[in-house]
């Protein structure tokens, strides 16, 4: 049996201690609500300490920090199973009660059953979910290529239309800020859209030396994106990074409990 310190410590911290806590919590419900906080504290401290302490048991390839990431994947797999059960339960209930939009639930369950069975078939026959030995698609891959991918592309392509409608609303010059936005957006679009760049070709270049490489609008677009836009983005990023660090400290120290649904004094 491999009894590496890191491996044993993880089992104790995230396996044995929570079980003891749950067992003790049967008598003291307040203790039960604290177990997730302790798990959060341990799970938060390990990667932070691993950042500064390079000891193999902590931050090596098979150290506690790396193993914790693996545990997350295993946990996610179990959670996915819960998700599938939830989808089946909700859709079945919707069909049973003939709720609004129940035919969509029929399509969903049919898709889940058909694609899932093709996946299981691939696993059982050993062909997997890619290609057959003769180079043809497995049933799973066939469904993915002919149904899933086109549908996915369709939804993604909607983005272009939504972008146009959102731009139309955002760029209406209602006040000074919106007017600045409108002008900046217009200039950036002119610099980025090849047709407009082509039409603007007669305008002399900003830098004579760069005439062949970039025109006036292209340079102006770069300046708008790099200087005012970059400065604003840096401000947001610095603020967000400090906010994230502050939030992480609150979670690790057990101060922030909102993500557990717990409030003041709980």
């Amino acid at each position: 049996m491999n009894l590496e310190f890191g491996r044993v410590a993880l089992v104790v911290l995230f396996g044995i201690l929570p079980i003891i806590g749950i067992a003790m919590g049967l008598r003291a419900p307040s203790l039960r609500s604290r177990i997730p906080i302790f798990i959060g504290i341990f799970a938060g401290f390990i990667p932070i300490v691993a950042l500064y302490v390079p000891k193999a048991f902590l931050s090596g390839e098979t150290g506690m920090s790396s193993r914790l990431d693996l545990w997350l994947i295993i946990l996610a797999a179990f959670a996915l199973l819960l998700g599938i059960v939830n989808v089946v339960q909700n859709s079945s209930r919707k069909i049973g009660r003939r709720e609004k939009g129940w035919p969509y639930a029929v399509v969903l369950l049919t898709g889940l059953a058909v694609t899932g069975s093709f996946g299981i078939y691939g696993a059982v026959t050993g062909h997997g979910i890619g290609f057959m030995p003769d180079g043809s698609s497995t049933p799973f891959k066939w469904v993915e290529d002919r149904f899933f991918q086109p549908l996915q592309s369709t939804i993604f392509s909607l983005l272009a239309f939504f972008m146009a409608s959102a731009s139309f609303r955002a760029f209406r010059a209602r006040n000074a800020e919106a007017s600045i936005l409108l002008v900046a957006a217009g200039l950036v679009m002119m610099g980025r859209v090849p047709l407009l760049e082509f039409l603007a070709a007669p305008i002399p270049p900003l830098h004579a030396a760069a005439a062949s490489a970039s025109q006036f609008l292209g340079k102006l677009t770069e300046w708008i994106m790099d200087t005012p836009n970059g400065a604003a983005q840096s401000g947001i990023i610095i603020g967000a990074a400090l906010g994230a660090a502050s939030m992480a400290i609150r979670v690790i120290l057990g101060i922030e409990r909102g993500y557990l649904g717990l409030g003041k004094g709980e």
């Binding site: 950042l51 193999a56 899933f148 939804i155 983005l159 993500y259 649904g261 717990l262």
Partner: protein, 409 residues
Amino acid sequence: MRTGARSLAHIVNPLFRAPLLASLLLTLSVSAFAIAPETSSPAAPELPPAQDFVAKDRPGDSGNSILLTWKDPAGLPAEAKLQIRRAEPPAYEWSEIQTVKQGVGRYVDSSARDRAVYRYEIRVVSDATPDSAGIAGAVSAPLLSDPVTSKDNWFRAERSNSLIASILFIGIILGSIRYAQSGRKIFIRRIAGLNAVDEAIGRATEIGKKVFYIPGIQSMDDIQTIASIAILGHVARATARYGTDLDVPNKDPLTFVSAREAVKAAYLSEGRPDLFREDMVNYVTYDQFAYTAAVSARMIREKPAAIFLIGYFFAESLILAETGQSTGAIQIAGQADPTQLPFFVATCDYTLIGEELYAASAYLSREPVLMGSTRGQDIAKGILLLLGIVGVVLASFGNTWIADHLKTQ
């Protein structure tokens, strides 16, 4: 060969054999002396060996690596390279581990094993330069290292600045929390998006429609998702208080489980477990655009009164927000990543920008401990701002001390 010699002996008369051999030997020796100055290579220029070759355990690592450093000698041919060889137990035979170009000066041997004793040597090799025998591929005299072993270390010295900054930051946060706990009033500027939370839920209650809460598409290992679930707890408390229907569709399975626990706990803490339904927090799919299609369709069919888009979003942000906008719902979005923020600003009624997302929990609960941490965050931001200004001024005068010391590895 022997057969050929014997046949020659049979052909040539024994009387002529001795003078013939003598003349043959003479001819050969003369021709040899005549050719020698033309065929022998000029004395090979000796390749200078590398200098200051040191092998040591790589500092601040998790073991299994040795750091080798050296200086290139002057006057190396342009094509010369440096060959690094290693002798390892138990046989201690030399084997090449890498040949590097000139000017590198360091090499990390990541194939070393902890606690094994190694010796390294470095030598200059040049394919174009002939060696003393006149054959191309000259090799300089090797330079040997002392015996060295690899081990894992206790501290990454190159991250000292980050550690000091983290300790200072934690100290400021804890100090601010203590300050808040002492009962002194803490000011947090008005955040319109968070003030609108109750207004949005109130509107949903009035018109008897659902509240949609979309916690992004990332998992619980993303801090924005954790912040989003914390806000979901507050929203769920409000919907539990008002008896408003809540719908939380999820893309990530871990987020789904966490969101369900948070909502369930919120309904319990408000004393309304009867209002909680398992299908309030539901799982949709793991695929980004399938999730987007499903949630958009539900928005159109069910026409919620309020939509919260808080968490980490990617390309689906605009599709969801525009669809929500078309249903006429009050939309409150929140994201810390600037790439998707413009879409939310353009389409939603209120947007929590950057740090506002993380301050939301404190702002909504008004809990002194959380408010204190927000104050600490602002103090840290002020210090960083000051450092930034001083650093820019100093750098403008050619002093990069602050910039150098703020670099992290």
